[in-house]
């Protein structure tokens, strides 16, 4: 569904990605593991068009994306839940969700309202806080809102960048349960995580990124068994 071929990305003299190949298959959760500054977020930003690759191609359902502006990429069916959530903190929960549906403007309001109801079904906490200014909510609630906002676009591919970061363990479990539930309803997901154990437990397939290079890839079972993954990310000697 999504293919990255030989992506090289540079910020001035700093090379963030050194020829990354990555495939996300329809209906699966693919996870991308790696430490700080490995280039995981750069990959997400490259897919969504916030970072332009120096060379290489990104294609989605057979169409090349890497020359398109972000808004055109988003309207082709990709949504991003960014690192650090980045909800619109000065707006209400409802307004954040409405902005998530921006790519579907022109659709009947009843359909949008129905989707907002579905999001409330997935995250009942948001319904209680519908008129609250989003910036005053807890980190976990903001994460739910960021995911709800992305889902409002009715994407076919969901990019999740470190959804567990900064959340209490109870919330982490809840968030991952919801990610799995969304996936079972047919959503294809690319998940960036530092917490390899949890990520591999819900993903079908994974990639390991170190300093801008893919160093290991395979099914979750293969990665869990691979020495370099166990040493580096699962805390085993």
């Amino acid at each position: 569904m999504l293919e990255l071929r030989q992506i090289v990305s540079q910020y001035g003299p700093v090379i963030a990605l050194r020829g990354v190949d990555l495939t996300v298959r329809q209906g699966e959760i693919t996870c991308l593991l790696g430490g700080n500054a490995a280039g995981k977020s750069t990959i997400m930003k490259t897919i969504i068009g916030l970072v332009r690759p120096t060379s290489g191609t990104v294609s989605f359902e057979g169409q090349t994306l890497n020359k398109l502006p972000t808004r055109a990429i988003v309207s082709r069916g990709i949504a991003l839940v960014p690192e650090g959530r980045r909800i619109f903190g000065r707006m209400t929960v409802w307004e954040n969700l409405a902005l998530g549906a921006h790519v579907r403007r022109g659709r009947p309001q009843a359909e949008i309202d129905e989707d907002i109801e579905r999001i409330y079904g997935l995250f009942p906490r948001l319904r209680e806080r519908v008129t609250q200014v989003a910036g005053t909510m807890s980190g976990g609630e903001q994460q739910m809102l960021a995911m709800g906002r992305a889902l409002m676009a009715r994407p076919r591919l969901l990019l999740l960048d470190e959804p567990s970061m900064g959340l209490s363990p109870a919330f982490v479990d809840q968030v991952f349960d919801i990610i799995q539930a969304i996936n079972r309803q047919g959503m294809t997901i690319l998940l960036v995580e530092q917490n390899a154990n949890v990520a591999l437990s819900i993903a079908q397939r994974g990639y390991v990124l170190t300093t801008g290079r893919i160093v290991a890839s395979g099914t979750s079972a293969e990665l869990l068994a691979a020495d370099e993954v166990r040493h580096a990310y699962l805390g085993e000697a």
């Binding site: 972000t70 409405a98 902005l99």
Partner: protein, 313 residues
């Protein structure tokens, strides 16, 4: 002293109408700052062009001697073309003078210089096409000088009340648009987080254009109102008014819409009180002294958020 107290209510009404117009102009500065974090120094000139458009339309109306010039239809006929054309002018200024610089990743200084350049171009264009001499609004054909009413012995001109009412209506319209419509939501999204706004699928360039359109349209309306009030306009009038309105925006907290409106009203009232109680020659000294004091004790402006909070978002 008794004399001064007798004219105080009149001076307050004068200050409020002047302040309402400052507020209208200040909205343009503050909205553009909100989405681009830059000061559009050409905005004062957009206001000046608005005054000229209103003057031109009024001159045509008078030339055709439509009999009585009833303000009920004359005002919209002056305001609407000035607002539409100034709105368009704002969009063009952004496209020509600012966007090419941003697209090439210019620092904040580049667009600032470009703004000063745009304002010089506009002043000279108006001077060359309209002449350097002032133009006169025949205001008394629309609002005769004896249209005044007495409230508790205070004589107040109808025009100053009309200016306050129109300014407040336009402000109310803008606030409604920003708070209640999808376009307003997009503008707020771009102002808060430009990158995430584009991830929502928002066409950021279009939102920036719309922001310039709205701010410049209000500036154009302000030009017409000031033209009617002072009756004399010239190609340099945008400089001083722009500086005052910019001050109002900073006083209220730049980037904040409510702040721009309140800052404008406050500035107008301070100015008229300073003229009444101290000396008209010192009114600008007092105005800017208030600004400096306000910024020392509340650097983010009266309604602004502390900068650190803004950066966190």
């Amino acid at each position: 002293m008794a004399d001064i107290l007798a004219i105080l209510p009149q001076q307050l009404v004068f200050g409020l109408s002047l302040g309402a117009v400052y507020g209208l102009i200040a909205l343009g500065y503050t909205m553009v700052y909100g989405v681009l974090s830059m000061i559009n120094f050409a905005h004062g000139e957009v206001f000046m062009v608005g005054a000229y458009i209103g003057w031109a339309v009024l001159t045509v109306l008078i030339g055709h001697a439509f009999g009585g010039l009833n303000p009920l239809w004359v005002l919209p006929v002056l305001l609407i073309p000035a607002m539409l054309l100034c709105g368009g002018l704002g969009v063009v200024i952004e496209r020509v003078a600012y966007r090419p610089l941003y697209a090439r990743g210019a620092s904040r200084l580049g667009p600032l210089i470009s703004a000063v350049g745009a304002s010089i171009v506009l002043q000279n264009a108006v001077m060359l096409s309209q002449g350097a001499r002032m133009k006169v609004y025949m205001t008394n054909l629309v609002f005769p000088a004896d249209w005044r009413f007495n409230v508790l012995g205070v004589s107040i001109s109808v025009l100053s009340i009309v200016i306050i009412v129109i300014s407040l209506l336009l402000m109310w319209g803008l606030v409604t648009l920003i708070q209640r419509t999808a376009l307003g939501r997009s503008i707020r999204a771009v102002a808060e987080d430009r990158e995430m706004a584009s991830v929502m699928g928002i066409d950021v360039g279009r939102v920036v254009s719309m922001t310039f359109f709205l701010g410049s349209a209000l500036g154009g309306a302000a030009g017409v109102l000031i033209g009617l009030y002072y009756t004399q306009i010239d190609f340099m009038m945008g400089y001083a008014a722009g500086l005052k309105a910019f001050t109002a925006a900073v006083l209220g907290g730049i980037g904040n819409i409510k702040g721009a409106m309140m800052g404008g009203l406050l500035l107008g009232v301070i100015e008229s009180l300073a003229s009444t109680f101290i000396n008209p020659a010192f009114k600008d000294v007092v105005t800017f002294a208030v600004l400096i004091l306000a910024l020392i004790f509340k650097p983010e402006g009266l309604f602004g958020e502390p900068l650190a909070d803004r950066e966190k978002i």
